[in-house]
């Protein structure tokens, strides 16, 4: 690893860091909306990875996968936010710690 020139590894590293930030966000925050945003960060980290690989291998497959990831993210956001709204209606809270219906 050197600082210059910029190789795909740099991008992979950036992606790893972004991913970790997302993970920390998911771990730490209790507001479910922010949780979702952290997940979006993780998606982005993955996308950076894919695009970096696409640049590395000079082939658009990586970008194609990134497109799919974006589509999945959109679907996830739509359904997830729908669930949030439905949940909020019933419980008047967005605190993930109060959403423990799956408790054993």
């Amino acid at each position: 690893m050197h600082f210059t020139p910029i190789t795909p590894y740099h991008y992979l590293l950036l992606s790893a860091a972004l991913f970790s930030v997302g993970v920390i966000g998911v771990m730490v925050r209790r507001n479910i909306i922010i949780l979702f945003m952290s997940i979006e960060l993780m998606f982005n980290a993955v996308n950076i990875n894919l695009v970096a690989f696409a640049a590395l291998y000079r082939h658009e497959v990586g970008q194609a996968f990134a497109v799919f990831v974006i589509a999945v993210a959109a679907a996830e956001a739509a359904v997830g936010l729908g669930i949030i709204l439905a949940f909020y209606r019933n419980k008047e809270t967005l605190n993930i710690d109060e959403m423990n219906l799956m408790k054993g």
Binding site: A17, V51, E60, A64, F68, I70, N95, D97
Partner: protein, 171 residues
């Protein structure tokens, strides 16, 4: 040199705003940081030669999905702060620790692998001339990945219907 400057600036921006997203107290602020973060990521895509993806990133992510977040944040006017109650069983510290560990390990792996010198990033677009990679991407999506593409569109449709059903007023 220029690309190094660009990369480090962008990386700093992305990470800074990502951290801002997860630390902001007000969810609306989080959303705003998230938008800026996404714009920065879009620029990364451009640098990597994926203009189409960059535009999609802005259009779909920043312009579409995050607006949804903003909407929900504004619709849900909270009577008590969501961060009011913390379940004691949740090991926040362990989570952060593990995340950092993952990062460290990934860095280690990359550093280890990165010792083999790789060619610098040459954006795919410049390799392919002025037509850009949009056309290639289109070909790829509509030939090799046609079925995944259609599946994705079905997924979006289902998600749309699902979201409407979920968010509908029950009466």
């Amino acid at each position: 040199m220029l690309d190094a400057i660009a990369f480090y600036t962008l990386a700093a921006l992305i990470l800074a705003f990502a951290i801002a997203v997860i630390t902001a107290r007000n969810p609306v602020h989080s959303v705003v940081f998230l938008v800026i973060n996404f714009l920065a990521v879009a620029i990364v895509y451009i640098v990597l030669g994926a203009e189409f993806l960059a535009m999609i990133q802005v259009l779909v992510y920043a312009g579409g999905i995050v607006v949804l977040y903003l909407f929900v944040v504004m619709l849900v006017n909270l009577k008590r702060g969501p961060e009011a109650h913390q379940d004691p069983r949740r090991q926040t510290g362990a989570g952060v620790g593990l995340a950092v560990a993952v990062l460290a390990e990934l860095t280690a792996i990359l550093a280890y692998t990165g010792r083999n010198p790789l060619p610098a990033v040459v954006p795919a677009a410049s390799a392919r001339g002025p037509g850009g990679n949009t056309e290639q991407l289109g070909w790829l999506l509509y030939t090799t990945y046609l079925i995944p593409f259609e599946v994705a569109s079905m997924l979006l449709l289902v998600a749309m219907i699902g979201a409407i059903v979920l968010a509908r007023k029950v009466d």
